[in-house]
């Protein structure tokens, strides 16, 4: 059998048992990357030498009993907006084309402590702004199910790398659906945890109040295991939350008897692809058959989520991205006259069009005279959306719906109409606005053979509910490997 078909936890067991060495697993992943990158282009940086050296080191630590965890020795791919000491971290932007951080993001450090071997950095929409991974300055990533289609975004590289079986698992980040939507498009599983669960220290910010780091993998077991490893209370992140219920793997139980699941009617209306709708309702049926109590309800305010999200995320981004100015690091224009000309040219040449669009939008909504009408209103909307979810979670343990209205669009289709692209985030952004945990997992293929993602949403700090429901559902299916993975 091919090593890369294994899940992260399966590989971890084999390494522990001495059936596979860390170097063999790492070499296999690097070979897979070499064979598939031309078709998929999931990576922006591949660290072959570093990975092999690290593999040797980790093997020793496993042999001497220092590393015993389930992820020890398992090779991983990291989204390129997570700082990795000594390794290029570009956010898939020209403006950070040469940026090598002096420190490693806390979540990645946590993985290293668990014995991870970093293969490289995955492609993404520039600064995580986009839903297709087409806004990357370093070329588009293709969907391993059909390379004429996008992998989704912004964590498209991470999800494609997992689906193409170039790595055993990956880290992504999710500001408005950037883990769940590409997971859905690529037929893999991804979790966006409750805001504050995973430290954001070292995550290059897009929308600080919405960003969360999360796992992408082949199945729910992997995701729960990885999430358990990366979760930590971090004093360096003031929004980090001290939690005690982080034994997420304890929720890997095939039992949903009596679990109350609500399906927002608002999520099944206009704009939802009929094939996606059928698959989602079938998944709900499956859970019902396993003993869950499933009903439809009105969530309300759904139409306000996208405008509120784009105002808040863009506002924060316009400020977060101000530091990229050509002064301290990254791209500086070649010729300029004076400071302001240097700023202007460096930023004009360094940022791509989607990033510029959001910086301009964000600057506009924060301008004096517009602040109340846009930004403040968006904050109020955010609070109301949270209230709507609070109300729903008084009744339901889990909210079920699609991760995206359609399956993966064709390359080049989305960027011509950004507003339409933004509307594709309708089912994911409110989860970020309300700070909730969400999971996306495969629930079938459409008639074009493209994966459909089922999204389960939990109340704050109730990851275990969605992990349990997702795990139970997953037991009724077998993992489908993408065509590229089977090459």
């Amino acid at each position: 059998m091919k090593l890369l078909e294994l899940t992260a936890v399966e590989l971890g067991k084999k390494i522990k048992a001495g059936e596979v060495t860390v170097e063999e697993a790492t070499r296999a992943a690097l070979d897979a990357i070499k064979a598939k990158e031309e078709k998929v282009h999931s990576f922006v940086t591949i660290d072959e030498e570093g990975a092999m050296n690290r593999a040797k080191e980790v093997q020793k630590l496993i042999d001497d009993g220092t590393l015993t965890g389930p992820l020890a020795g398992v090779p991983v791919a990291i989204k390129d907006n997570l700082c990795t000491k000594g390794m290029l971290t570009t956010c898939s932007s020209k403006i950070l084309y040469n940026f090598i951080p002096t420190y490693t993001a806390e979540a990645v450090l946590n993985l290293e402590k668990a014995g991870a071997v970093i293969l490289g950095k995955t492609n993404m929409d520039e600064f995580a702004m986009g839903s297709t991974t087409e806004t990357s300055a370093y070329g588009v990533t293709k969907n391993p199910w059909n390379t004429e289609h996008v992998p989704g975004g912004s964590s498209g590289g991470s999800c494609a790398a997992v689906a193409a079986e170039e790595c055993f698992y990956a880290l992504g980040s999710d500001t408005g659906g950037s883990i769940r939507q590409p997971s859905s498009f690529c037929g893999v599983t991804g979790i966006k945890p409750t805001y504050g669960t995973v430290s954001r220290y070292g995550l290059i910010a897009y929308g600080s109040s919405l960003d969360q780091i999360g796992p992408v993998a082949k199945d729910v077991t992997d995701c729960a295991t990885i999430l358990e490893a990366i979760t930590s209370y971090d004093k360096k992140d003031s929004t980090s939350v001290k939690r005690e219920d982080t034994d997420f793997t304890s929720a890997l139980v095939d039992d949903v008897k009596g679990m109350k699941i609500g399906i927002p009617r608002d999520y099944l209306g206009e704009g939802l692809d009929p094939e996606v709708k059928t698959a989602i309702l079938a998944a709900a049926k499956t859970l019902e058959e396993k003993g869950a109590i499933v009903e439809e309800f009105d969530l309300s305010l759904v139409e306000y989520a996208i405008p509120a999200y784009y105002v808040i995320a863009a506002a924060e981004a316009s400020s977060n991205l101000a530091r990229f100015d050509g002064v301290k690091y990254g791209y500086r224009t070649k010729e300029y006259e004076g400071l302001h000309n240097m700023y202007k040219k460096s930023r004009s040449e360094g940022f791509g069009p989607e990033v510029k669009r959001r910086i301009m939008l964000g600057s506009f909504v924060l301008s004096s005279g517009y602040y109340d009408a846009y930004y403040l209103k968006a904050l109020r909307t955010k609070a109301l959306i949270k209230q709507a979810f609070d109300k729903a979670f008084e009744k339901y343990d889990v909210i079920l719906g699609p991760a995206a209205p359609t399956t993966a669009p064709k390359l080049g289709e989305s960027l011509s109409d950004p507003l339409k692209m933004y509307l594709g985030d309708v089912y994911t952004v409110s989860v970020n606005l309300a700070g909730l945990p969400g999971i996306s997992l495969p629930c079938g293929l459409d008639s074009k053979g493209l994966p459909i993602g089922l999204q389960l949403i939990g109340d704050c700090f109730k990851e275990k509910n969605i992990i349990r429901a997702a795990y139970a559902y997953e037991q009724t299916r077998t993992y489908q490997h993408s065509p590229i993975a089977q090459d």
């Binding site: 956010c91 600080s208 109040s209 004093k235 992140d237 530091r323 002064v327 301008s367």
Partner: protein, 476 residues
Amino acid sequence: MSKQYETVIGLEVHVELATKTKIFCSCSTAFGSAPNTHTCPVCTGMPGSLPVLNKQVVEYAMAVGVATNCQINQYSKFDRKNYFYPDNPQNYQISQLYLPICHDGGIEIETENGKKTIGIHEIHMEEDAGKLVHDDWEEVSLVDYNRSGVPLIEIVSEPDMRSAEEVIAYLDKLRMIIQYLGASDCKMQEGSMRADVNLSVREVGAKEFGTRTEMKNIGSFKAIARAIEAETARQIDLIESGEKVVQETRRWNDEQGYSYAMRSKEDAQDYRYFPEPDLVPIVISDEWLQQVKDNQPELRDEKLKRYQEEFGLPEYDAQILTSVKKLADVFEATTELCKKPKKVSNWLMGETMRLLKEHDMDPEDIKFSPINLAKVIELTEAGTINSSVAKDVFEKVFSEDIDPDKYVEEKGLKTVNDEGALRETIEKIIQDNPQSVEDYRNGKEKAIGFLVGQTMKAMKGKANPGMVNKILKELL
């Protein structure tokens, strides 16, 4: 000038807080280190870094708020102020706009025209920027981020001041309060206290304020006074000649004695403030606030009163001793040891001040231990050393903080009270100085001074001067 005008002034005072570490990271705030040695990913704006609030900053800000009679916002927030400049590594400054930590306070000042309360609109916390060094030779600018992230509070007054004298009195009072709290050393020359002056003029009796200008970062009290006089005159001239005062920011050039426009309201920046998403709101519990209130030290006005009542010092002494906290601290510690407040006051106001001046030092630079000053006083009071020896001993205490008991012993400086030995010396002096003896006997009273001096010299200054006088007169 036919019309009468009044000047309306409000101040924005920035004070660097005396914390050991920066406001949002654990880098040192120490002055004078090599460029960019007190830096980390946070205070250099590296991608992915996040701020964490230094609790001591909140505590100092609260203490200043309490001492200036402000309301404390027990729920306050940080906001981002967005503007591009290379000394500002993130291109935004973390400050407080919407919910500052303190608001609606005020302090009482006293000028020749009597007492008056100056309102404080708000006090907010923020981070300092780095420093730009322009290298004209190389035609480059360099940035030093050692100051980036040093904690500041900005104290915004109401437009309640009407003259340079009131402004100076307000600044002086503010400085004193903050120094007493230990929240900052408030040294204007070193930039740990900086003031922006908002000034307008209007006809006496007018209800509306005139158009104001802002003068930024003036370096000393004297310069502030000069800038106020000049700006007042400039605005009155404009009005008198039928022109309009333009709302603008001006830079005061103290050497040349004039100000020039930096930027007008039209090109004023839109800072696009919004709540800082990387920090959680600051929640101050009732207990914490009470604790800060309970820990407030005695401030100057209270000390001033107590020194007169408890120690019976003249107001003049109390004024000087309390003018600098260090002086008051030394006074209290020394008095506690020797229980002679007036003597301690005399030593501090006399010899200590003289030596400070001689060495070009500030009272803050006093190094000697109160116990050693107390010993000098005790030695003098007991007659163990005479006053001129005491001054010499104190000079040693002042510069090297020596132990006076040991020093007097080792150097053999004890006053000689042995009458026989004294009489012997004086007899010899009389013999050696017949001219002075003659002069004295002929009624020249002053001549005895010379003979006393000669005796002291012969006794190496250790003689008891009273006894010398008595024996001399007897023998003459």
